[in-house]
């Protein structure tokens, strides 16, 4: 197990260098000059332009710029934002908990709704319940996030008034962030009602973000379950007279879960992509919104740092998923 872990960790290193090169090159391929962008209609005189070029290191050849950047990254320094002049790592650390909170809720929503839907569809294969659940999930999968999010806001917030429109907490609560996770911070504070407010602010973004992964998980669970339900050992289990519930939950689902877990791991990447839109619409102060804003302003250090950190997290989660296979199915062994 440890050997496997180390080997997988070894795989991460070239991926890491690949990501840094890719991110660095892609940004520098965008045909634009961040200094001109910042100056806008007002322009900047040549002398000041040269000064700024030097300050940001743009006067160096691209290769030198890359190695300077890489050197910084290896020492844990992602540079300073061109816009706010704050260290990128510091801004990332401030905003990341909000994204984690939303993503965890999103994946919980996707699993809690998606798994049972898939199981039900598989059991009632070809019946109306199967068609219904699968068309619901197909609709969810096809719905563009920004549109779905606005529909949710218009219906639940503006028309019914059940949920708040956007943000993480009612502005009338004053919470000093300690962990950065609003649910935890509000629980720890003595502001009455703050926790409920935080929870209610999570409802719509969670649904908006979790819908696509939910649909994918439901469809994956269904097909995986159908495959397993046709296996011999299921027939044996049924012939032994086990209750149908036990057959499905213990014998079928557990074995059907392996591909589903893979999909859940892969959905983490999808979730971060979705977070960019969800966070913008719901004014959610996370890293998705942060990176989009940085892109618009050509804030190179923030874009590079942000994408690199996300790539790191996605790699980490996938490593974790690999390790989980063994927990779920002891037949999988990590051989040398």
């Amino acid at each position: 197990m440890l050997g496997f872990f180390m080997r997988r960790l070894g795989d991460v290193i070239p991926t890491f260098f690949g990501v840094t090169i890719l991110v660095f090159l892609m940004i520098h391929l965008i045909p634009s000059d961040p200094i001109q962008m910042m100056a806008g209609e007002r322009g900047v005189d040549p002398e000041r332009y040269a000064e700024l070029q030097k300050e940001y290191g743009f006067d160096q050849p691209l290769v030198v710029q890359y190695f300077n950047y890489l050197g910084g990254v290896l020492q844990g320094d992602l540079g300073k934002s061109f816009v706010t002049k704050r260290p990128v790592i510091e801004e990332f650390a401030t905003l990341f908990p909000a994204t984690i909170e939303l993503s965890v809720m999103g994946i919980l929503f996707a699993v809690i709704i998606g798994l049972p839907l898939g199981v039900i569809a598989a059991i009632y294969r070809g019946k109306w319940l199967d068609h219904l659940t699968m068309s619901v999930s197909l609709t969810g999968y096809s719905m563009p996030i920004f549109w779905w999010a606005l529909l949710l806001i218009m219906f639940f917030s503006t028309t019914l008034g059940w949920t708040p429109v956007s943000g993480r907490l009612s502005v009338f609560y004053y919470i000093e962030p300690t962990t950065g996770f609003m649910l935890i911070d509000t629980l720890m504070s003595d502001e009455k009602g703050a926790f409920i407010s935080a929870l209610s602010h999570l409802i719509l973004p969670t649904i908006a973000l979790g819908t696509i992964p939910m649909a994918v998980i439901a469809r994956m669970t269904r097909s995986s379950m159908l495959e397993v339900l046709g296996e011999e050992y299921i027939r044996v289990a049924r012939a032994k007279g086990l209750s149908p519930m036990r057959v499905i939950m213990v014998h079928a689902l557990r074995n059907a879960l392996i591909p589903v877990i893979t999909v859940i791991g892969l959905q983490v990447g999808v979730l971060f992509a979705g977070a960019i839109l969800t966070e913008t619409i719901f004014s959610w102060p996370g890293i998705g919104k942060w990176i989009v804003e940085a892109l618009n302003r050509r804030d190179y250090p923030t874009i590079q740092g942000g994408i690199l950190m996300i790539a790191f997290v996605v790699m980490g989660v996938n490593l974790l998923v690999d390790l989980m296979y063994g927990v779920i199915n002891p037949r999988i062994r990590y051989k040398r």
């Binding site: 962008m37 900047v44 000041r48 002049k85 503006t158 000093e176 962030p177 009602g193």
Partner: protein, 535 residues
Amino acid sequence: MKANFVKVALGAGLLAATALAAPTAASAKTLVYCSEGSPEGFNPSLYTSGTTFDASSRNVFNRLVEFKRGTTTIIPGLATSWDVSADGLEYTFKLREGVKFHTTKDFTPTRDFNADDVIFTFKRQWDKNHPYHGVSGGSYEYFNSMSMPDLIKDIVKVDDYTVKFVLNRPEAPFIANMAMDFASVLSAEYADKMMEAGTPETVDLNPVGTGPFQMVQYQKDAVIRYKAFPEYWKGKAAIDNLIFAITPDSTVRYQKLKAGECHVMPYPNPADLTAMEADADINLMSQEGLNVGYLGYNTQKEPFTDAKVRKALNMAINKDAIIEGVYQGAGSPAKNPIPPTIWSYNNDIVDDKYDPEAAKAMLAEAGYPDGFKTDIWAMPVQRPYNPNARRMAELIQADWAKVGVDAEIVSYEWGEYLERTKKGEQGTFMLGWTGDNGDPDNFLAVLLGCDAVGSSNRAQWCDEEFNNLIQQAKTTSDVLERTRLYEEAQVVFKREAPWATIAHSVVFEPLRKEVVDYKIDPFGGHIFYGVDLED
């Protein structure tokens, strides 16, 4: 699994039932402003965006002179009066006494505002050897772009309540520059203290000003909280708390306004305006913006070297159709290069009439009876002065086709676009300008002066008569004389037609009915001192 599901379902039900009982501020008056983005920081001299100015200079700080709320008129601020020497080279400001700085968790002021604070504020930006010059990135783009480093010769503390600025040349707009955001006065005592503590950049993150509101908390991308400063020198603000709820999406801002989650929102989506107007809970205010959107001709490139050609093309453009199709009504046709909210706007000028036949005849007269081929450069970005350059280019392309001019639409990425138009690669191009200080010089000299050719004068237009007029106006501080000169300059501009002036945008500010005494700021700011909430 099942149990989990039930729990979640129960939780969700409970939530709906409690219906999000957010506490309403019972006695304290709290105004929530759904702002469009996060500020870059809290020191207005370091940044150039309106979002940052709203969060800092416009509500937290004061300047020596200020703009009267809702106008471009200059009134005393931290200076009670000022004198200009006869040669226009010395500006002496008398400072206001008894002005207090905010007390924050980092800093308790031990003295009132005085000349040291003014000296600190300007020397930091001006003097490259000042200990604070390089702090927080140390780029003072607005100070630089208003040519302050070349303009200022010296800044002298005459006594505790008198400061003198010595200039290298007479420059009448100087006083208007002093009302701009970058000129917001910071506390020298606070700066010294933070330098001692080894954390000088705190000054730019946790602002200490003399303004009506003091910052209490900032959570990046989420919320900024302010409370009214009880010792504000003009008297405490009518509202007790001011909250900026950062909401980048304009549709979501509108939903929040409708749901009562905020009182004021900036930059509404034009498509929502009709619904806002019909909403009984919303008061939709509007005012002409301090900007101009134009199509410029490259006057150093054939055939645009000939004023007749430029004039003819102006007459071929159907402005009304553009206002309708591009601004969706949120714009008014422009006849001058400065907006009507700026003093010296020459209202006697008659705009070029839309007349394709006459345009055709004039083109023939200029030697182009069959028209010619050219290009129209369309900006890739959206601006209030031009919400959709691509669409505008298409409309103009169609208009010009009617008089035989075959124009190709060209676009580049924004940085590239600005760079290339500066060099004069274009035939015709679209751009615009938003005023910085309400002075006509800020439009006429910056965009059309001979000195600006090759930089912000992208029409590359240098007309001796026009340039003499604006140079003269720059060196006299007599406002009546300056008005006369600028009015005349506008006549020359119209005759020579280096641009087709298209439109001034109309700024819309939707607010909830309970907000009273709100005024639209011509500079596009959002100012909450003087605003009240009715029960």
